[in-house]
């Protein structure tokens, strides 16, 4: 299984992490699909995404919004991608449309086949078993306007993911409290940091933290 979790930030923050993703793909001319969390103004985000990966000599990109109808023809090409990136945005809206479009299931199969799946913020949360971490902290959470009751997600890893983490007391308080209730460890990742899963090996890129059973841990195995 090849997965990359981005804590957040812009392309400059994530430049090195992007390079790590491409190493995972290990192909001279990889095909990358960009799945936006919402089609709203996703063309512009796609443009920025392409601008960045073009610097790494990637030339094959597909923009694939899943909250608008799509045809099987482009879908079949998407599923042949080497890397699929799930963008940031509203986690509830994203999950709703991944399920509704049938993409949630297809993405799991894609990962099983060895495809690299990456996710930034909401996209990263989507890859975990449950999206509860999108609902806090109160000052920076996603609104569940879609009124999604089933928060189960792709379940590709055994941890939960908390993006945009800021190493501060108020964040820690919220995460410590949550981790007391959760069965799984919660990995908290600041902007510019990330988590790389290659087969069964996990690597923490930049500073990462874990919250488990009410305690906070600093995660080692840094790449940088």
């Amino acid at each position: 299984m090849n997965l990359v979790f981005y804590g957040g930030g812009d392309d400059n923050d994530n430049s090195e992490l992007n390079s790590e993703c491409l190493k995972l793909v290990n192909k001279k001319s990889p095909r990358i699909t960009y799945i936006p969390s919402c089609s709203y103004d996703s063309e512009w985000h796609f443009k920025k995404f392409v601008d960045h990966f073009q610097k790494h000599k990637v030339t094959q990109f597909i923009h694939f919004p899943i909250d608008v109808p799509f045809d099987k023809i482009l879908l079949s090409e998407v599923l042949k991608s080497d890397l699929i990136h799930l963008s940031g945005g509203n986690t509830y809206y994203f999950l709703k449309h991944l399920r509704k479009s049938g993409m949630a299931k297809l993405l799991k199969e894609f990962v099983k086949r060895g495809g690299v799946l990456t996710g930034l913020s909401a996209g990263g949360i989507i890859m975990t078993p449950i999206i509860t971490t999108a609902s806090f902290p109160a000052w920076d959470r996603d609104e569940n306007e879609e009124k999604i009751k089933n928060h189960k997600s792709l379940d590709l890893v055994s941890f939960e993911f908390f993006p945009h983490y800021v190493n501060s007391r108020r964040y820690d308080q919220v995460l410590v409290n949550y981790s007391k209730k959760s069965k799984r460890p919660v990995y908290a990742t600041p902007d510019g940091s990330g988590i790389i899963l290659k087969e069964d090996e996990i690597t923490f890129f930049g500073k990462n933290y874990a919250f488990y059973k009410g305690k906070k841990f600093i995660l080692s195995q840094h790449l940088t």
Binding site: G8, G9, D10, D11, D13, R31, P36, S37, C38, S39, Y40, D41, S42, E43, W44, H45, F46, K47, K48, V50, Q54, T59, Q60, F61, I62, H63, P65, V68, D71, K72, I73, L74, E77, K80, S87, G88, G89, N90, Y93, L120, S121, A122, E145
Partner: protein
């Protein structure tokens, strides 16, 4: 007073808006006198409130300072109402000796302008023109000028109703709908949304500065453009043989275009200026006709030169639409007649240019010849050439080529561009075998293919496959909801066109790659990114605007003018499909508000419609 209101009162610093005072009915065209307009005294119309205000436009024309927050305040609202909440003292008022408080009557008169309208029986323009509008004046800012007019300011003697019923009407007379001189808030709202979207997408249009709402849904809708003159403003004087007025109006138009720097290198000598005018007008109308076709904009053009401005910009959104597909056989049913169709707009635009040629000749020779004598005027050749040129440029833009790539292709292999355009046009023009059907407000024979979809997907598929897609795949992508099984049946000719489409598309990419010394995949990638913006899945149509405005009207009591402005701005941004725009984005995708989401669903639902 609530605590919140008290706080606002404490922190609010009184402001003045002196520029509004300059909008007082005066306009350079007043000097022409009765030939150009009927002048009315106006009075304040009480009971209005500002329903919408276009802060960006107000800043652009200098009515409010550049750094002004996009927030209404009591002084700004008072200035807007004092300037624009007005109603004419019309013939009915005078005949019935109605008295109005002296302090309510404005100092200057305001013009209701005369212009030709085909629905008026005499067809000379002596009795037609602004039936429910007046010109508020002209504002100048940073070396440019803008005309401002308002719709819904009372019944004038130039309305069709006055002429056909041979009587003057009281403003607001409920027995005569259109002729009552009032306009309605939903009309204004539709114009506000539609015009801002088209403006953002570089289509020339009047813009809405604000809407003032009165009881019963009536409103004054304030419109702005650099030059609000229509061809019909001068065509009436040609018909009537008013040489002096015609000459003054044409001069005014040329002068304004020059002063506003819309036109440069305008000759000094009078006859040269007229030739220059004719050249520009044929180009302007050729571009307009090409744009309307390519953007699927339905604007009821006719020989009278109404519904359009002299510079080819749209005015009067009553019957303007943007189709999702090329519904080129749609006709609006105006009870007494059917409108022209999109495809006929070109010939109407061409006829308008022919009339410009007749005008220029008349002004030069002082002898009025018949329009037929200009059937082969060189300006029409210019029009035809420019029309084709704009069509060629536009097809490359729609495919997703950048200006640089497009210029290269047009220069190096124009024939290839035109061969591709022909294949493109075959699919764009394809219509349903169901034939002409009645639609809500007219008739239509539906288009069956969505060209935006194929232009958006094709470069991505080529990029990943590096080969043609199959015929079945092509049709699967391009078919719209209007297409029936029968419509999609294979024919030898369609197969040929389909093959040509792909062949020429690839050739365009290859030629560009070679000429620009780039790889084909790099060119395809650039095309793909631009095309995803130009051919966005969700594009607004006339039906979607109408439905959105209906929904907005239901929500409106809870939405103030600032919120409405924000909604309009967000919606316009969502619909700005210009890939050359420099739009900053956050690192994560924004999800629109719940209300906006509802609007987008409407856009999606009607994306292929009228």
């Amino acid at each position: 007073m609530t605590a919140k209101k008290a706080k606002i009162k404490q922190t609010y610093k009184s402001q003045t808006y002196p520029k509004f005072k300059t909008v007082n009915g005066n306009h350079p065209l007043k000097a022409i006198g009765d030939d150009y307009s009927v002048e009315y005294k106006v009075r304040k119309r009480h009971g209005g409130k500002v329903a919408a205000f276009n802060f960006d436009l107000a800043k652009e024309i200098g009515l409010i300072p550049q750094g002004h927050p996009n927030q209404m305040n009591p002084d700004l609202e008072a200035s807007i109402l004092d300037t624009f909440a007005i109603i004419i003292i019309n013939e009915f008022d005078q005949m019935n000796n109605r008295k109005f408080p002296e302090e309510d009557i404005k100092k200057h008169t305001y013009m209701a302008t005369r212009y030709l309208q085909l629905q008026h029986p005499t067809k000379l323009g002596k009795t037609s023109g602004d039936g429910r509008s007046i010109w508020n004046g002209q504002v100048k800012h940073k070396g440019r000028s803008w005309d401002i007019s308002s719709c819904g300011t009372g019944a004038t003697r130039l309305s069709p109703a006055t002429h056909t019923k041979n009587k003057f009407f009281e403003s607001g007379d409920p027995t005569i709908s259109y002729g009552c001189g009032y306009s309605e808030i939903d009309e204004g709202m539709a114009a506000l949304f539609f015009s801002e979207i088209l403006h953002a997408n570089n289509v020339g249009t009047e813009r809405v500065l604000g809407l003032i709402e009165f009881e019963k849904g009536y409103s004054v809708n304030i419109r702005v453009h650099e030059n609000l003159m229509r061809p019909s403003h001068i065509f009436n004087h040609l018909k009537q043989g008013n040489y002096d007025t015609l000459s003054s109006l044409v001069s005014h138009y040329i002068d304004t275009q020059e002063k506003n720097k819309t036109w440069s290198k305008v000759p000094k000598k009078e006859t040269d200026r007229l030739d220059f005018f004719l050249d520009r007008q044929s180009e302007v109308f050729a571009k307009m006709a090409a744009d309307f076709e390519d953007e699927y904009i339905f604007c009821w053009l006719d020989w009278d030169g109404d519904n359009i401005l002299m510079d080819g910009s749209i005015i009067d959104y009553g019957s303007v639409r943007q189709f999702g597909l090329y519904h080129s056989e749609y006709r609006y049913d105006d009870v007494e007649r059917f409108s022209t169709s999109i495809i006929e707009q070109k010939s109407k635009a061409r006829y308008i240019v022919q009339t410009f040629a007749q005008i220029v000749d008349y002004l030069k020779s002082k002898e009025k010849k018949t329009i037929k004598e200009f059937t082969n005027d060189k300006c029409l050749k210019n029009f035809d050439e420019k029309f084709i040129q704009y069509k060629d440029e536009k097809i490359l833009y729609k495919v997703g080529f950048s200006k640089k790539h497009s210029d290269f292709l047009l220069k190096k292999d124009l024939k290839l561009v035109q061969k591709f355009r022909k294949a493109f046009s075959y699919f764009e023009m394809a219509k349903s075998k169901k034939g002409v059907e009645k639609v809500a407000d007219g008739i239509n024979r539906s288009a069956i293919f969505c060209m935006r979809d194929i232009l958006r997907e094709l470069p991505q598929l080529y990029l990943t496959r590096n080969e043609f897609i199959t015929q079945d795949e092509f049709i699967e992508i391009i078919k719209s909801n209007y297409a029936t099984k029968k419509d999609l049946e294979d024919t030898a000719y369609r197969k040929k066109q389909l093959s040509d489409f792909q062949k020429y598309y690839w050739e365009l990419v290859r030629k560009t790659a070679k000429g620009m010394r780039q790889s084909e995949s790099k060119v395809l990638l650039d095309v793909s990114i631009r095309s995803s913006i130009v051919n966005k899945y969700d594009r607004v149509t006339g039906d979607s605007i109408t439905t959105i405005v209906d929904r907005l009207m239901k929500k409106r009591p809870k939405i103030n003018s600032e919120e409405l402005y924000e909604i309009m701005k967000e919606f316009t941004q969502f619909q700005t499909l210009d890939p050359d725009q420099d739009r900053s984005t956050s690192s994560e995708e924004r999800r629109p508000s719940k209300f906006m989401t509802g609007m987008f669903k409407i856009v999606r639902e009607y994306r292929e419609g009228l």
